[in-house]
């Protein structure tokens, strides 16, 4: 990978820090009036998710990281790994528990999602902001109770449990916001 000098730093640039791929979240030029210039970067470690600040002397360079966000289709889970396919190249990759994180709660087969690859291997998976999933288990709905508040748990086909209004029935398809894990509406 290419090296990047401080003047090429920008938000979103992926670089290697202490052996891990990291993403620049915020890049700030710091220059005491009469002193040397520095570049202070809020960095996110893409393996651990940790964010912290690191300071570079002006002109210092760092190695780029081979990290790519790729749109992929979720295929299936074999009990250990989650499998994805690039719909353009038909190339397949498998994500382990660490890489998939909580994303598996929102995935159903053939859904599109974003897979972050480091040296070709998945390190994280981001589901779409909104997904549609079927209710496989919930207490029976209360007839006519469509206006009043109140909620109950419902288990979705992906295994996630979300709070839903009382009138929702088993077998219905719901729209869920994956960023908050909350019910939005019937699909």
């Amino acid at each position: 990978m290419a090296n990047y000098s401080t003047n090429q730093f920008k938000n979103g640039l992926k670089v290697m820090i202490d052996g891990d791929p990291c993403s620049m979240v915020d890049v700030e030029f710091v220059k005491p009036g009469k002193g040397q210039a520095f570049t202070r970067v809020k960095m996110k470690n893409l393996m651990s998710g940790r964010t912290w600040e690191r300071t570079f002397k002006s002109g210092e360079s760092v190695e780029g990281a081979d990290v790519m966000d790729t749109d992929m289709e979720y295929l299936y889970n074999d009990g250990e790994m989650w499998h994805f396919m690039d719909p353009k190249t038909y190339e397949q990759v498998a994500a382990d528990q660490t890489a998939i994180g909580d994303a598996h709660l929102w995935l159903k087969e053939q859904d599109a999602c974003q897979v972050t690859l480091f040296n070709g291997n998945p390190i994280s998976v981001t589901p779409p902001n909104f997904v549609e999933l079927e209710v496989v288990e919930t207490d029976p709905g209360l007839k006519g109770d469509t206006a009043q508040g109140g909620s109950k748990p419902a288990t979705l086909q992906s295994g996630a449990v979300v709070r839903v209004p009382l009138f929702i029935e088993r077998g219905e398809v719901l729209k869920i916001d994956t960023r908050t894990g909350e019910y939005v509406s019937r699909a």
Binding site: F29, K31, P32, G35, Q36, A37, F38, W52, K57
Partner: protein, 325 residues
């Protein structure tokens, strides 16, 4: 539509109105105190010597299409204003553009606006009082606190910045800052700690003057002894909400010492592989002729407007920052 270049002002027009009102208030302040407004060259034959201020070079052709003479866009009007003081101007101020290579970021634009003024008969502490008198009302602040450079290092890092060695500064820096930074210049470590650890902690105190800098950071200030007998530069900076806003000196008037500092700057430039700068013989000649004892200060106008508006982005107060210039 997405291909249309950004042609319109980066700063909202209402911010430009605020900027104009602040500049009008500055002019009214100096008119009221009988301080003369002056106008010195933006393009000059000499550049400042400070190792970490890089002047933008420009090419002047006395005969169009002929030989090129190297000129410099000023990074500060200080040398020319001192020549005016030595010419008998009395108190003077200037609002001008200044230019610096490499300084671009949230709080920096390579072309920026500077207010600079000089007060014969003042020392740096007296000038701090006048800086507060002008700026605090513009910022909606009622008072400023004052700490010596030694005090802020003692309070926030527990060290004496006038005596701590490089090894000690490196250890302290490693406790607070993640970096591969390495240097054997003490002042570079002090600047790192000041900008990364102390400045952010001053943010909650509103307006803070820091004065009596280490003698090694005197730049163009006189050096004297503080109450503890340490050599200190009669220099101050003003930080507002943790942002460096002004830098002032009880000005050096000794031509021999000035020439020695120019040479020291160029020696440091040589050691760090930075370009050499021609010594400004005209400033040295002015000091030899005699410049009145005075204090002077530079204030970043863009940052002043940023603070008055409450934004941390310089593009909010400049119509066309460099990428759009």
């Amino acid at each position: 539509m997405s291909d249309t270049p950004q042609w319109n002002s980066a700063a909202p027009i209402e911010n430009l109105r605020r900027r104009a009102a602040i500049i009008a208030a500055i002019r009214a302040f100096f008119v009221g105190k009988d301080v003369l407004e002056v106008d010195t060259p933006v393009m000059s034959n000499a550049a400042v010597s400070d190792p970490y201020i890089d002047t933008i070079e420009c090419r002047y052709q006395p005969l169009v299409g002929g030989d090129v003479e190297m000129k410099y866009l000023q990074s500060s009007p200080e040398y020319a204003m001192k020549r005016l003081l030595a010419s008998g101007s009395g108190p003077i101020y200037q609002i001008s553009k200044a230019f610096r290579n490499g300084e671009v970021g949230r709080r920096h634009n390579p072309e920026f606006s500077m207010l600079e003024w000089y007060r014969p008969g003042f020392d740096h502490r007296q000038l701090m009082t006048e800086v507060a008198e002008l700026l605090l009302p513009l910022l909606g602040l009622s008072e400023a606190v004052e700490y010596s450079y030694a005090q802020v290092f003692k309070t926030h890092l527990g060290i004496d910045p006038h005596s701590a060695c490089v090894a000690e500064l490196r250890t302290i820096a490693a406790e607070h800052i993640d970096s591969n930074y390495e240097d054997d210049n003490r002042d570079n470590w002090l600047n790192l700690l000041m900008s990364h650890v102390i400045e952010p902690r001053l943010a909650s105190e509103g307006a803070v003057f820091v004065y009596d800098y280490p003698a090694s950071q005197a730049a163009l200030a006189k050096v004297s002894e503080d109450a503890q007998g340490r050599a200190v530069a009669e220099r101050f900076e003003l930080f507002v909400h943790g942002v460096e806003l002004a830098n002032g000196y009880h000005e050096l008037t000794d031509a021999t010492e000035q020439a020695r500092r120019f040479e020291a700057d160029n020696r440091q430039r040589g050691e760090e592989n930075l370009p050499q700068r021609p010594v400004d013989d005209l400033l040295i000649a002015a000091l030899e002729n005699g410049m009145p004892d005075c204090a002077g200060v530079a204030v970043g106008i863009d940052r002043l407007v940023m603070q008055a508006i409450g934004t941390d982005n310089i593009a909010d107060v400049i119509a066309f920052p460099l990428p759009l210039a």
